[in-house]
Symmetry: C2
Subunit: 327 residues, 2 copies
Amino acid sequence: MPLVLRDDEIRQALTMADAVGAIEEACREQAAGTAIAVERRVMWLPNGWMRLMPGALVASGVMGYKALHRIGNSVRYAVHLFDCTSGEAIAILDGWYVTAVRTGAAAGVAAKHLAPPAATSLGVIGSGAEARTQVEAVAAVRGLRSGKVYSRDPGRRERFAREMTERLGVAFQAVDQPEKAIDGAEILVAATNTAGTGPALFGRWLHKGLHVNSIGSTLKDQREIDPAVWTFADRIVIDSRHVLEESGDGIAAREANALDEGKVAELHDVVAGTRPGRTDATQTTLYKSVGLGLHDVAVAFRIFRQARARGLGRDIDDFQALVPASG
Amino acid sequence: MPLVLRDDEIRQALTMADAVGAIEEACREQAAGTAIAVERRVMWLPNGWMRLMPGALVASGVMGYKALHRIGNSVRYAVHLFDCTSGEAIAILDGWYVTAVRTGAAAGVAAKHLAPPAATSLGVIGSGAEARTQVEAVAAVRGLRSGKVYSRDPGRRERFAREMTERLGVAFQAVDQPEKAIDGAEILVAATNTAGTGPALFGRWLHKGLHVNSIGSTLKDQREIDPAVWTFADRIVIDSRHVLEESGDGIAAREANALDEGKVAELHDVVAGTRPGRTDATQTTLYKSVGLGLHDVAVAFRIFRQARARGLGRDIDDFQALVPASG
């Protein structure tokens, strides 16, 4: 009987530190060859799109997929999990927070392995839900002491600074130019909504030694960083190769000839230690992500187990017949 | 609130004639350009696979996907439907019967447009669940008077003949060689389980004027017909271009140079009349299918509406938060 979990129950069941742990575990399974990551399928609609993103963690015993669709100005998400050994449906989760928290947690894992170990100052460009989980994820892996946030809307950046100050007990300041958020930062988070507006972060604004997480370009029409960011970075870590083919930023970097493949590694290789992370305080590091169904499955599975242990959610009757396979 | 439908409820809610109607409607939407068919995504697992198959009927107002997975020797199916305009989840259905009935109904639509109009005699190779719905679909579009069935297992073919005789009121006879099922038939249905065993139907067994439905090769490792069937056919109609790239039969035909692209049309073009069906009593026609998520969505939507009207199934609370889109 699958357990159905709503947004409020999911938020109760998981901390950001749990999510970072789940992503690191998934990375280790990827490196060991027991995780399966498959390219997402996108269906374009006249007024939106639908995406299906499968993934499996065979050693952990779970497989599944995320299904999300945008119609007009709203998106709905769901994650479906199945037992890898029996095939039984085990959970159906609202996928909104799962998406934000897994994107944050994967960037947290990247920051853990790439940011200067003693980093305390954070710059943020963007003030949406994804920017919040990005900041929480960095706070889970580094001892932050100060933050600055830029967002085009003054009201939104002020509110973001207030909320982060309260939630993390770290002084956050709203600034009126992106360059001011970057100035003096050791870690920079870009989490913007940039469809149709062009890049929000430019390479000429960066300084040496900085670690950058950029998560806001997951479709061809979304741009977050300009090609000069790719050129300025000494090491580039990606959540999957799809970044280079499916994100507007990746495509623009390739077209501008700004992509030096020798600098690029996948996150799981860095976590497993088969490719180097930061080796020098003066290196500039860049983490780019497009989102992996595998990460959704990993974080949703952690949520499911913790929700089950705490009695959260409700079971629905199993509606799937068990059919003998043909062939 | 999505309506959850189990197998027994689904079977109550739909006749084969309803399903044939739903597929014809979907074909007309495809021809009119308001249907969206997207290639399925397959994830291979150590002990099975998962497939995700999206589709949308924009004019009808529905979109969704089928998710199915095989683990060991069992398969589980689900179809998820969403309102195309609001994005709301409207139904979650067990996808087993949906799959069998939509595969049957699409082949029924093919037979309606390709088989000799006065055909009364049917040959069947195969005796599984898919063979049953194939026969029902042909019976829904032609006035059958006799049938013959071959299947390797004598007990299974005898039981199949008895069941079809009872269900359709048409005399079905079990035969001990595939050639005997073909002899004298005007329509031939091949619906076999052939992974690893090679083709079950050979071109040298066929006669002119026959219409053949072949639905048993949907993955690379599944073979149902040999390349000579493709050569012998005067017209070939496929449910989608994926037949030529993803089915073992399509791949083998291309490799054997047995595929004359000029003979090939898609089902929706024949239904809409933009490509010819049978134009001559001596023509041999072949319908090959690999299965379309679009057809699952079309038939599941019909089931949903009829189940809703009859008060079948149960609603579950909507578990998906409505999230403002970024960008």
